[in-house]
């Protein structure tokens, strides 16, 4: 063949060949794989809820990989680790997780992960996302650990705000607290509520603080003391045994004061020990939507993608929210730096780059606005609550209840 004539043809051939090769290679390049590491507990105190816990996360990740992830060209490889809810196990496993998984985000379980990794994460450049509520002592700035839930006290404040506005008279809402001394989170819950009352004295008042045993035999004495101050609500945010003891004490004394609980010691837990009729009018409040709220589309995702033996309930809702925040941050990071350049740093920047709108969370979470000032959102905070009406667990309100602004106490 005459080279000079074939040259453009040859160039065209080569170009086509190159384009074809590129086209063939493109599907392989289009999907970048990243690792997300998850802390679980199959052998420690939370082992019995692990199915639902992991189910909530796993279904969200699988759903995201199939839908939004595919569109972005990202595949999330989720690696679980049994860290036994023990800080020393976390401490000794973390180097391995870092070097082998090279995760872009870490999903923590609770305080052992938090305390062990708090100081290491900024250096290791992996953000951690939790699904549990925080406590006051952890309100520090410039951390790489985040939760979509604020402190317990702020969650309670949201419900108090809602209820105070609906009081028949214009007066402060009278709150009595039942808690245990000597357990970090439990004491802090009360401190936060006291701070709330100090900040808004005409709207909230803590009329009585009762301290009981962690697993009390009877709290009738203390509830009797409290009844003298005539509270509108009794806050028992600690554990199920104390809720049950309070319910019994109220029954003994012939009182009908509603109780306010959190997610882990909520109404469905207490209903295992006392007839649900005794819980009539009491509340459970937390910063994610109740699992039987019809606006929560995540329930469908769970039903479709869940591969574990877990069921859709408070636990899986809580962890699904955690996973949703993680993928929301990953999406935002991918749009900013590109799907092939994701890293822990990029996800961290994305988390702090502004509020995540509520639509991103398919009804499960309100707007989540994280800043470097705290490991949880301090603005746009909102909660939802459940109550017992006519012997059934129902949502208190369709809309999110905003949390009044609170300074660090």
């Amino acid at each position: 063949m005459n080279p000079s004539i074939a040259s453009p043809v040859r160039r065209a051939c080569i170009a086509t060949a190159l384009l074809g090769a590129l086209a063939a290679a493109t599907p392989a390049l289009a999907q970048t794989s990243y690792t997300v590491s998850v802390s679980l507990d199959y052998t420690g105190p939370f082992a019995n809820v692990m199915d639902s816990w992991w189910g909530g996360q796993q279904s969200v990740f699988d759903w995201w990989n199939e839908t939004r992830g595919k569109a972005l060209g990202i595949k999330l490889d989720v690696k679980t680790h049994d860290l036994r809810y023990d800080a020393s196990v976390v401490a000794r496993t973390w180097p391995q997780i870092l070097s082998q998984d090279k995760p872009i985000v870490f999903l923590g379980m609770g305080s052992p992960d938090l305390v062990s990794l708090m100081k290491r994460l900024p250096g290791d450049k992996v953000p951690m996302i939790m699904g549990t509520a925080m406590i006051g002592p952890l309100w520090t700035a410039n951390g790489w650990h985040f939760s979509y839930r604020p402190t317990y006290s702020q969650e309670f404040a949201g419900l108090f705000d809602y209820l105070q506005k609906r009081l028949p008279e214009k007066r402060a809402l009278r709150v009595g607290t039942v808690s245990t001394q000597g357990l970090a989170g439990y004491v802090d819950q009360v401190n936060g509520v006291v701070a709330l009352a100090k900040t808004y004295p005409e709207r909230f008042a803590v009329v009585s603080q009762q301290w009981v045993d962690n697993q009390p035999v009877s709290v009738t004495n203390q509830i009797r003391e409290m009844a003298k101050a005539n509270p509108d609500l009794i806050l028992v945010g600690t554990n199920t045994a104390q809720v049950v003891a309070t319910v019994k004490a109220l029954k003994e004394l012939g009182l009908k004061t509603p109780i306010v609980t959190s997610s882990h010691n909520g109404l469905n837990e207490a209903a295992k020990a006392v007839p649900i009729a005794d819980l009539e009018g009491s509340y459970s409040v937390f910063a994610f939507a109740p699992y039987n709220d019809p606006t929560v589309k995540v329930a469908e995702i769970f039903a479709k993608y869940n591969k574990t033996k877990g069921t859709w309930g408070i636990t899986s809702a809580q962890t699904a929210g955690q996973a949703l925040l993680a993928v929301a941050a990953i999406e935002r990071a991918a749009t900013k730096v590109g799907a092939d350049k994701l890293s822990g740093q990029a996800v961290y920047d994305a988390l702090l780059a502004g509020p995540f709108p509520a639509e991103q969370f398919l009804g499960l979470l309100p707007t989540v606005a994280l800043t470097s000032a705290a490991p949880f959102p301090t603005e746009h905070l909102a909660v939802k609550a459940m109550t017992v009406k006519g012997g059934k667990l129902v949502a208190v309100s369709e809309d999110w209840m905003p949390v009044p602004p609170l300074e660090k106490w």
């Binding site: 019995n48 000597g182 301290w211 697993q215 009738t220 003994e252």
Partner: protein
């Protein structure tokens, strides 16, 4: 009047401590075995009650005796497998064995029953009786009466019956008892069966109508100071000591807790225990042992 109510509640709670301490003391009184795992034994009995009454759904009049039999069988099994071989061994080994038992029962309970909390049947009635301005918790009051009756009955058994006196010999010293023809094996078997039966009574009073979880075993630690205060060999002393500790705790909770951020009522039993150990190790009614070279 408030003070009276506080005292009454303290007395009633104290009887719960007393019955747990009683189960501990009975084992010691009849066989000189120190069982640090008594809290776990109470928890195991509680699980048996749950198993028969709630899980299998048997009615109370059938489920409770079945649970009682199961608890007694557990006690006999523990005695046969472990403590029978430790007869005559120093106290040290026996204490260590009870430590091993503690870990074992805790693990076995989690293995068979799982870690989640579950409801416990309302064996004793709920609510409270009104006595003028005072409230008396029904469960605790009935429990207190039962404790007193059982305590008295056991006291009679140990001091006025042949079998009981033989058991007292075993509590004094194993080898001496053997040399006098008392079967130490039989004594330890009786001790454990009585002890576990009482543990079930304690479990029922403590947990009637509340939730049952693995943390129920913590009551065992509360019972130690009570048993010590009353005297490790004194069956009557256990109830009285329980009342003293219960009342002390209630008073400390009312007057000292606000000053010490809640620490006073929590440490009270243990500080009391240390004081008892320092000043009068045999407790209020225990036997005074004179050491011989």
């Amino acid at each position: 009047m408030e003070l009276l109510q506080t005292l009454i509640n303290g007395v009633l709670t104290g009887f719960v401590y007393g019955v747990v301490a009683l189960s501990f003391v009975v084992i010691y009184r009849a066989s000189k075995i120190v069982n640090l795992a008594q809290g776990q034994v109470v928890m195991a009995s509680a699980f048996f009650v749950w198993l028969f009454v709630l899980a299998l759904g048997w009615p109370l009049w059938l489920g409770l005796p079945a649970a009682l039999l199961a608890s007694i069988a557990l006690g006999a099994a523990i005695e046969r497998a472990i403590f029978r071989r430790l007869i005559g061994q120093p106290v040290f080994s026996v204490v260590m064995a009870s430590i091993g038992l503690l870990i074992l029962i805790q693990g076995a309970a989690q293995l068979f029953f799982g870690a989640q909390t579950r409801p416990f049947p309302q064996v004793l009635p709920a609510g409270a009786w009104q006595l003028g301005p005072l409230l008396l918790n029904k469960t605790l009051l009935i429990g207190a009466v039962l404790t007193l009756l059982t305590g008295e009955g056991l006291h009679r058994f140990f001091t006025h019956t042949r079998a009981g006196l033989r058991l007292a010999a075993v509590a004094e010293d194993h080898v001496t008892a053997l040399s006098l023809g008392v079967s130490v094996r039989w004594a330890t078997a009786i001790a454990w069966m009585l002890g576990t039966a009482l543990a079930m009574l304690a479990a029922v009073i403590l947990l009637s109508g509340t939730v049952l979880g693995l943390q129920a075993a913590e009551i065992g630690l509360r019972a130690l100071p009570v048993a010590l205060l009353g005297g490790l060999e004194s069956v009557r002393g256990a109830s009285l000591a329980g009342v003293l500790v219960g009342v002390g705790e209630a008073l400390a909770s009312r007057f000292l807790d606000p000053l010490t951020a809640g620490a006073a009522s929590l440490v009270f039993p243990y500080v009391l225990m240390i004081l008892v150990l320092l000043l009068r190790p045999q407790g209020l009614f225990g036997w005074r042992k004179i050491e011989r070279l």
